[in-house]
Amino acid sequence: MQPTHSSRRILLPVKGWFILLTLVGATLANLVPLGRLPLLPDWVALTLTFWCIREPLRVSMGTAFVLGLIMDIADASIMGQHALAYVLLAFTAGQLSRRILWFPLFEQALHVFPMLLGTQLIMLIVRLIAGAEFPGLSWFIGSLVGAALWHPVTYLLLLPQYQPVERDDNRPI
């Protein structure tokens, strides 16, 4: 069968270790110290949204909370800032997953963009209440880039599930 991204295609079951690996990889990508480049998306939020939409029974608010705490500590921000935002993100993604998966990838990205933006807004509100400075509008470009990356991220993260049932040793992937 040709690889299509429509939700009707029957995929192989996802492996637990692969989910874990991608989440750890996203955390690592977030930890790369590139200073304050506003273009970089929040990789953890993006990967978390993906798995919350694809596997709502395996990845949900508990995972989001733990990842949020890790990001809080690594980012040197207030404890609970990322955790709160990611938990709300995971809840929204889990609730909307049945709806979102009916759409083609571009329209899925249109759903993902407000979710990522909302995550940033929650963090902004929390920090402004705590008395921090406004980081500037360019900070929000990150979620736009994240939504734009939805297509390649979906393709990459679903790659292990595209394997055919009959194993062909000559097939490259």
């Binding site: 690592l28 930890l31 506003p38 395996r58 909370f65 207030i78 049945r98 998966l101 980081p135």
Partner: protein, 305 residues
């Protein structure tokens, strides 16, 4: 639809309802936020977790480190030679001051002894390197490569070759966080070098600083150099901090708006010096009574002997 996955649908064990779980996690997060913001009780948990996270952070830092190494390797011989020449010239220029420093220090000590003043505290420090800026976009902090293991403590001042850049605010085992002077929550007591006028300098966001609570008729001019006043017991007196770039005196406001810019390379990375912890001078007694007559004083002293 394969939302539920390929395992048979779990009829019985689904755990609590999503809304209940959402409520649980959100209240837990808010409790953490309050505990960290209001009560500052989570520093130990953060220290432990940061220690566990350190290998991951180190791994994430490796590619950047390698890139910088490569850049350094490829920087041309020509530039290195120019740098070397410039440094040698600078060394010669400052040699005069350096050679007389010991002599001046001794003289200063003797004069201070004559004047019966407290001796100036010697400035000791250790060199550290700024690794990167913290990812948090809401504050201005940098991560330094010396931590608990090197004996760094929270509260120490951090300077570079031009002036103060900030203060250590959190110490982790291998690294420490330095809050830069341009952070909105960071304040530093300063005085105008020209006339000794004291004030408080605070970050104003986006790389600028502001001299707060200056009366509208205060004697401050554009171009004035602000140095630490040493009244706080943390920063040594006399370190250059900032330069006044503009003053806005508005009659409707009680205070003048004095905009400053940092003297040191606050937003640049590089080598810095972490100054040793300063022992704060004793505060004068609060209830000083009027001096007693000398005869009585002599008697009481004699009695205590």
């Amino acid at each position: 639809m394969s939302v539920v996955g390929h395992s048979p649908p779990p009829f019985f064990k689904r755990g609590p309802a999503p809304l209940a779980r959402l409520f649980f996690f959100v209240s837990l997060s808010i409790a953490l936020l309050v505990a960290d913001l209001r009560f500052h009780t989570l520093e130990w948990a953060r220290l432990g977790a940061a220690t566990l996270l350190w290998p991951l952070q180190r791994a994430a830092y490796l590619p950047v480190d390698a890139g910088m190494d490569l850049g350094g390797y490829l920087s041309s011989l020509r530039r290195l030679k120019d740098d070397n020449d410039a440094l040698r010239k600078q060394q010669l220029a400052t040699a005069n001051l350096l050679l007389r420093q010991t002599h001046l220090d001794q003289e200063n000590q003797r004069l201070r002894a004559l004047l019966d003043m407290k001796e100036r505290q010697p400035a000791v420090g250790q060199v550290a390197e700024i690794l990167y800026a913290a990812r948090d976009p809401f504050s201005r902090r940098v991560i330094m490569n010396k931590g608990l293991q090197a004996g760094v403590e929270a509260g120490q001042a951090v300077v570079d070759e031009l002036g103060v850049i900030g203060q250590v605010t959190r110490v982790l085992p291998m690294t420490s966080e330095v809050t830069l002077l341009t952070d909105k929550d960071q304040a530093i007591p300063v005085e105008v070098r020209r006339n000794g006028l004291r004030g408080i300098l605070a970050g104003a966001g986006s790389g600028a600083m502001e001299l707060r609570f200056m009366p509208a008729n205060a004697d401050v001019q554009a171009g004035d150099l602000l140095t630490t006043s040493g009244l706080d017991g943390i920063y040594l007196p006399g370190l250059p901090v900032a330069k006044v770039i503009g003053i806005e005196r508005d009659n409707s406001m009680a205070f003048a708006h004095v905009a400053c810019e940092p003297v040191a390379g606050v937003e640049r990375n590089g080598l810095v010096l972490v100054l040793g912890r300063r022992i704060a001078p004793d505060r004068p007694e609060e209830d000083v009574r009027a001096p007693e007559p000398p005869t009585k004083g002599k008697q009481s002293r004699a009695r205590t002997r």
